[in-house]
């Protein structure tokens, strides 16, 4: 009764889409209004933490090689770390501003994990393309959480972070187990499933 791997990607895409919407709403409304209700301040950090927790069963049940397992384990850890650090900061339990760098660190580690565990070139097949695209998106996109760590109230950095999450969602929705990308499909990749 286990879903195919691409279904898990689509479910996580929905999680990233919601994360993007939460952050975009915060950037539009402004931090002062966003923090007027306590539950709202916990919304996106707890959501990120939950997605990190849910990454563990993905690591356990959906990885078919050691390198995939290590990559998914790294994502689980850094998502939980970033979510917990942001939660600690909004709750006031963490005081050092250095905790703000947990999110850019999560971006860099996640991006490297994408790039390092993809063994094929960009146009080998769709999932290879998406691994490269997501890896570079997260590494380049780390500039937004990094800027947010330096200037927490900067709406541009918050909006940028939101758009990176939305872009990640779109890329994950495009994922297929085995499918061509821009008409390219390596003969070594096998037969497309559907």
């Amino acid at each position: 009764m286990q879903p195919p791997a691409e279904f898990v990607h689509w479910m996580f895409a929905t999680g990233f889409l919601l994360l993007g919407l939460f952050l975009l709403a915060e950037a539009i409304a402004g931090e002062e209004v966003w923090r007027r209700r306590k539950w709202r301040t916990y919304l996106w950090p707890s959501f990120l933490f939950l997605m990190g927790v849910l990454m563990w069963p993905v690591m356990t049940f959906f990885t078919n090689s050691t390198i995939h397992m290590v990559a998914h384990g790294a994502w689980a850890q850094v998502m939980m770390l970033a979510g917990a650090a942001e939660l600690g900061l909004v709750k006031g339990k963490l005081h050092s501003p250095l905790w703000r760098f947990a999110t850019p660190l999560a971006f860099i580690v996640s991006g490297l994990a994408f790039l390092l565990h993809e063994q094929n070139e960009w146009l080998f097949q769709r999932s290879s393309f998406l691994h490269h695209l997501l890896g570079w998106t997260l590494i380049v996109g780390a500039v937004f959480p990094f800027a947010r760590a330096l200037r927490p109230r900067w709406a541009f950095a918050n909006a940028g972070l939101a758009f990176v999450f939305v872009f990640v969602a779109v890329a994950l929705y495009s994922d297929r187990d085995l499918a061509p990308v821009f008409g390219h499909l390596s003969s070594l990749a096998g037969q497309p499933h559907r």
């Binding site: 879903p3 689509w10 479910m11 895409a13 889409l17 919601l18 919407l21 975009l24 409304a29 007027r36």
Partner: protein, 91 residues
């Protein structure tokens, strides 16, 4: 003193205008997201397996990416955006 009383209404009017613009933007986020899901379903109807359910297993019928987007947009609008707009317009 007179300068203070003269500029205050203009300042609060500008703030009200900005908040109204922000509220409109917030109110459009969820519906626009849902619209994106609907458009995707129209452009790629085969991504909605519910439209041709014969012989499909549970996961193919449960996980419908375009419908997930519609659901995410609707939930965001109903549970987050509406309350946020209330807080913003109270400001």
């Amino acid at each position: 003193m007179s300068t203070h009383t003269a500029t205050q209404p203009a300042g609060s009017r500008t703030r009200a205008e900005i908040n109204s613009w922000r509220a409109r933007l917030l109110a459009s986020l969820g519906p626009l997201t849902a619209l994106g899901g609907v458009l995707w379903a129209i452009v790629q109807p085969y991504r909605v397996t519910l439209l041709h359910p014969d012989g499909q297993g549970f996961w193919w019928l449960f996980v419908e990416p375009p419908l997930f987007i519609v659901l995410a947009g609707a939930l965001f609008h109903l549970l987050v955006a509406r309350v946020l707009i209330e807080d913003l317009t109270e400001d």
